[in-house]
Amino acid sequence: MLLAVFVLAAPAAVLAQNATNAPAANAASNAASNSASNSAAAAAPAPGTCAALNNCATQTYPKDSVNSGDTAWMLTSSVLVLLMTIPGLALFYAGMVRKKNILDTLAQSFGATAVITVLWMIIGYSIAFTGHGKYLGDFKYILLAPLNGDINIANTDLAPTIPETVYMFFQMTFAIITPALIAGAVADRMKYSAFLWFMGLWLIFVYCPVAHWVWGAYGWLGLNTNGGLGALDFAGGTVVHLNAGTAGLVAALMLGKRKGLGTENFAPFNPAYAVIGASLLWVGWFGFNAGSAVESHDGQAGMAAAATQIATAAAALGWMAMEWLIAKKPTVIGMASGAVAGLVAITPASGFVNPTGALWIGIAAGIVCYFSAVHMKKALGFYDDALDCFGVHGVGGALGAIMTGMFASKAINANIKGGWLIDGNFGQMWLQLIDVASVFVFCGVGTFIILAILKYTIGIRVSEDVEVEGLDINLHGEVVQG
């Protein structure tokens, strides 16, 4: 598999080094510049200065100046985000499948963590977060080679006050959870070998490019002073959630519906696990959102944390209210799902909105995602998004990205022009829509191609007998006893 990665990476290397010749398939941007990638544009600030960065107060940092407070926080954030996948997401999903598939569902999160960690180290970080390309990074950080010589260097473009090892690790945990989320759409019926291949290929060919576009220092889509369009995505509403959600939709369509859907009893084996998982997601998400401030020496991480908590609670109440009204009973899986929807929706907004904006985003997420996960899925009926990967993460991510355009406030984040409702900047809405559309299209096409290749080589769906008897015993040789 590594050989395949390197062989396929060769054309990508050409791409990264020739930004001017990069494919123009993506949405045209009015600020797109075709300047040579190797030299910073004359107007770009020197690397390591605050003005060159996405999010910080107005101070200047000397190159490679590492701050112990920021580093301590970012190390903490990284493990919080790792906790979101193992065991947060693992339990959230596993509790909602039938008993015969619970171990496979856990194995998907666990195995994805292992595969993605290694690939991130080998190539992922390099192509996502380094270099000066508009669409892709370069290959100087293959195997994290620069870190072999000096553990004190910092990624001066993106995180000048923490060691680059920490920034790489922090971003690794995002790279881990994004593809792991897709497991929710393919639950109960995917071959484990195909799943692991899918995790690795999707990381490299979908996640890394999108992360580079939005968060790379020279990415064409995100907020930076090197020609980026200025779409706002603080912690990954589009890069992580819309991305994973779209992939989930495509994957669900390509795998087909589960046998017995609608006629057999698919009741969750253990909703208690799902609630425990959702709780771990809620707590861990503070590493996700507040950690995306990439520092802790001004108020930004704190406001992001406050916004996260407010939106999540509001969304849990919103879903609970809808369910109580329509289904007559507030379920515990429902309120946990509502909380997750709120977490997803506040993700792109967390470092840009004030508490009131967070409240509105949360309420909207709880209500909208309730309808998209429960009613829209049933009404449309042509896709089996088993655990609502698209219904919650896809729809919630897109909703959050668009509402970021509404509620972003330059009083909260001095690096932005502000949003529509707070600062009267309606143009931000267009940028958010471009972000959503670009990610949706690129991810949809990329996911389709990867799964088509896997489908016609090793096959992606288990046989009918295996699906009926259960994945745990057939794919892993293990069962939950009793």
Partner: protein, 112 residues
């Protein structure tokens, strides 16, 4: 010898056991079962997907007694397990051909 088989509501198990001990029944086998009679099941909802569950959790007791003790055992169970509501359960009395105590090899009434 008679096999007394009863299906009762799970929370009544302890009460029934005490009543049987009082009636002189010295051994009991219990299993967790699912079933329905006139008591309907319930509806579960998970993210909008509704599942009509027809089977209700119950407990099945089985005890083998002498012919003479059968009527007393039945009465004991009936009194202890009843709540007056639908779903209280049923008691069946079956004939037993032979019984053997494994440890000693005793058969018949001596094995009970």
């Amino acid at each position: 010898m008679k096999l007394i088989m009863a299906v009762v509501k799970p929370f009544k198990l302890d009460e029934v056991r005490e009543a049987l001990v009082a009636a002189g029944v010295e051994g009991l086998t219990v299993s967790e079962v699912k079933g329905y009679g006139r008591q309907k099941g319930h509806t579960e909802i998970y993210r909008g997907a509704e599942y009509q569950v027809t089977f209700v959790p119950k407990v099945k007791l089985e005890a083998v007694v002498n012919d003479a003790g059968a009527a007393g055992a039945v009465e004991a169970i009936k009194a202890a397990a009843g709540t007056g509501k639908i779903g209280d359960g049923k008691i069946f009395v079956l004939n037993v051909e032979e019984s053997v105590r494994i440890r000693t090899g005793e058969t018949g009434a001596a094995a009970l």
